[in-house]
């Protein structure tokens, strides 16, 4: 009896104590690539401390496709388990229906600081479904020390140049390091390959898979030329196993000092420059090479913060989003972890430029990045992307010729389109 009274008293004290000290608890599905989780947690904790709320940051899958698969199930079931989602630039058209409208929660003056193209991308039928958090564009990483050692003055401007340089460096380095490879990228059959392959195709002048009017344009001689060039990389300057690489697999090889060139997103810079990295201070970043007669292309990536439309705490969720996407936090993330801000003025900020010099030199790359055809293909984007990536994958594994792949991708996407996207 006495025990029970004490227990009841303790429970009461505990419950009332918790209720007194805390506001609400938000659940935040954020990032897991590179230092993503830690950076999310840092920002969310700062907001929590400021407002007296609590944020639970979830561990999420590494690959964007796996994240989308998970989130669209949660949202489709109208689950309110997660309050704030970090969403990919190609998702607003897919899951926008289940996301809250944030246009009332973010003052217009603040929203206008962001790149207008990204804000437009996040606006579906007049509803602001996400606030830009960081933008991404594919860039070329190279080893400054190795380029110098083999007598090269600057990063390659064309894919053919990259091939020659990578070949020479690989041959030289293999003598002392049998695991050394010339060029790594994302060749696994997933969304990342769609991004990489769009860059190849577009830099050869082969278009954007589906044009803005919804016409499927992928089957053209320039696409075939691009695929031919990249197919010749696999097994020569790129490891045959590049077809199993996602972002982090490529980064592991490059950061381990075992590759001369890498295609990746900007986050890899801060990771490679971190204390203890074997290639610290030896990393150069340049725009990706171009095809003959084409110009360099970088696929637009980037992530937004969105609030679950079914969240139990819409006000706090919107406030967390406003804080995290604000100028101060974006600046911190740019300096700490080389996440590209979505606020134009931060690219002129001296502290940011000192930490990540290529934000200044590659400003045009970031603002002119090529978008995947998500807006035009709407709810069928993922099917289109799957068909494209699988076709390119078959070229990389040499199961298909570039010509056959281009025509098969064309007919598959046409079939997916049916009577219209």
């Amino acid at each position: 009896m006495k025990k029970a009274t004490i227990l009841a008293g303790l429970t009461f004290a505990l419950v009332s104590g918790v209720a007194h000290a805390q506001g609400v608890t938000l659940t935040f599905a954020c990032d897991s690539v590179g230092s993503g989780y830690d950076q999310c947690k840092k920002g969310a904790d700062a907001w929590a401390k400021k407002t007296g709320n609590t944020v639970r940051v979830l561990q999420v899958p590494k690959e964007t496709g796996d994240r989308l698969a998970l989130y669209q199930q949660q949202l489709g079931a109208k689950s309110k388990d997660v309050d704030v989602y970090m969403i990919d630039v190609v998702w607003p058209g897919l899951i926008g229906q289940n996301l809250a409208d944030l246009s009332k929660s973010i003052p217009k003056a603040e929203l206008d600081q962001h790149f207008p193209a990204i804000v437009k991308n996040n606006t579906i039928n007049g509803k602001l479904v996400g606030v830009p958090w960081f933008t991404d564009a594919g860039v070329l990483y190279y080893r400054t020390d190795l380029l110098q050692k083999y007598g090269y003055k600057s990063a390659p401007k064309t894919w053919a140049e990259l091939q020659t340089m990578a070949q020479k460096i690989q041959e030289g380095e293999r003598k002392s390091n049998p695991r050394f490879v010339g060029f790594v990228f994302q060749g696994k059959n997933y969304e990342g390959l769609t991004c990489d392959a769009l860059e190849w195709v577009n830099s050869f002048g082969g278009g954007e898979i589906v044009d803005s009017s919804g016409k499927v344009t992928i089957n053209n001689p320039k696409t075939v030329a691009a695929l031919k060039q990249i197919q010749s990389f696999v097994g020569t300057i790129s490891p045959q196993a590049v077809t199993t690489y996602a972002e982090e697999d490529a980064r592991n090889v490059f950061q381990g000092g075992n590759a001369a060139f890498m295609r990746n997103w900007p986050y890899a810079y801060a990771a490679g420059q971190a204390e203890g990295s074997p290639i610290k201070g030896k990393i150069g970043v340049a725009a990706l090479p171009a095809g003959p007669g084409g110009k360099p292309a970088a696929t637009l990536g980037g992530w937004q913060l969105a609030a679950n439309a079914y969240s139990a705490h819409p006000k706090e969720a919107a406030d967390l989003i406003r804080y995290l996407t604000g100028k101060e936090e974006q600046k911190r993330r740019a300096i700490d972890a080389s996440y590209n801000p979505t606020i134009a003025s931060l690219y002129k900020d001296q502290d940011v430029l000192k930490a990540v010099p290529f934000f200044g030199s590659l400003y045009d790359v970031f603002t002119n990045a090529v978008a995947r055809p998500a807006t035009v293909t709407k709810s069928k984007y993922n099917q289109v992307s799957n068909a494209f990536a699988t076709g390119v994958y078959n070229v990389l594994t040499k199961k298909s010729t570039p010509e056959a792949a281009a025509s098969s991708i064309q007919s598959q996407i046409t079939r997916i389109k049916g009577r219209g996207f």
Partner: protein, 315 residues
């Protein structure tokens, strides 16, 4: 005499009522199982079959919309057939799954039989070995698949290193990356993981064979090989068949291990990975359900073939 008539008339009546009571009791005892089965197996199955006749994108459609057999096959405006039954990717997935199933089940059965014979004989530390043999089976598939994934990795994986020192691989190559060896590499992982399970099932069968039969065979002068083929194998057949059915049905719906190692790569895409891609990645619940129904039918065909051609008795 007058009393005997009612008594003889009553007896069958009482028997009938005893039987009736018994079967009533049986129904009550079975009812919970039937209800649970209906809820966890019957309802999802019927719902999947229903959804396979609808168009239902969970991102955009508020409710499933009936479209008849269009998910399976339909005629496009230009007259060509489209739909799941005409999708070459689906048929490739079916073929991959069948190849995976046949090769892994055959290898697992042979290895499992060998392992079972070893751990059935008497030697020191037998208990320890029996436990140790089960370790691969006890490790969760996600963990062991990721472990193998790293071992196969081209840059730092130990298997790739062995492959290089044996001259089978060059730098940057790995068994899972090469589309011609990928399926074999996955079969190896599956065999490593499941052969112990087969061994366990076969061991149970071995232990049900009375030892005096071997003594009799010894007295008659039959060699050990002869004993195995004339005695062990025929008596083991029922246990072996049950194990075979278990493994075949399991292997036909394999998903986790190949997906972790190879993702959506077409050369190792199994039926279940294809179903997941359609249903979860592409959010098409209707089309994905149609895929699931076909998987169900294919597995059912395998079961029927097994049960009828091998005359398996479950009792």
């Amino acid at each position: 005499m007058a009393t005997s008539t009612p008594s003889t008339a009553r007896r069958p009546g009482r028997n009938r009522s005893v039987e009736a009571t018994r079967s009533r009791t049986a129904i009550w005892l079975l009812l919970p199982t039937i209800i649970v089965l209906a809820l966890v197996a019957g309802y999802p199955l019927l719902r999947t079959i229903y959804l396979s006749f609808t168009e239902y994108n969970i991102n955009t459609d508020p409710a499933p919309k009936g479209i008849g057999f269009d998910n399976y096959a339909f005629r496009l405006d230009d007259g060509t057939l489209s739909g799941l039954l005409t999708d070459p990717q689906w048929w490739q997935a079916v073929w991959t799954t069948v190849k995976f199933t046949v090769s892994s089940v055959v290898l697992e059965t042979l290895l499992g039989l060998g392992m079972a014979l070893v751990i059935n004989s008497k030697f020191r530390a037998r208990g320890l070995l029996r436990t140790a043999i089960l370790v691969p089976w006890a490790v969760p598939t996600v963990v062991s698949a990721q472990m193998w994934n790293w071992m196969y990795q081209d840059n730092f994986g130990i298997i790739s290193q062995w492959g290089r020192s044996l001259g089978l691989l060059e730098a940057g190559q790995s068994f899972v990356a090469n589309p011609n060896t990928a399926l074999g590499a996955l079969v190896a992982v599956d065999v490593w993981k499941t052969a112990p399970f087969m061994a366990l099932l076969i061991l149970a069968g071995l232990q049900s064979i009375p030892s005096d039969m071997y003594e009799a065979a010894d007295v008659d002068g039959a060699s050990k090989v002869r004993q195995f083929f004339r005695l062990t194998l025929p008596l083991l057949t029922p246990a072996l068949l049950v194990a075979l059915i278990f493994r075949t049905l399991d292997a036909l719906r394999v998903f986790d291990m190949p997906y972790i190692v190879k993702g959506n790569a077409p050369e190792t895409m199994t039926m279940s990975i294809y179903a997941r891609q359609q249903m979860i990645d592409n959010a098409q619940f209707g089309y994905g359900s149609a895929v699931s129904v076909l998987i169900f039918l294919i597995i059912m065909i395998f079961t029927v073939i097994y049960v009828t051609s091998l005359r398996v008795r479950f009792d």
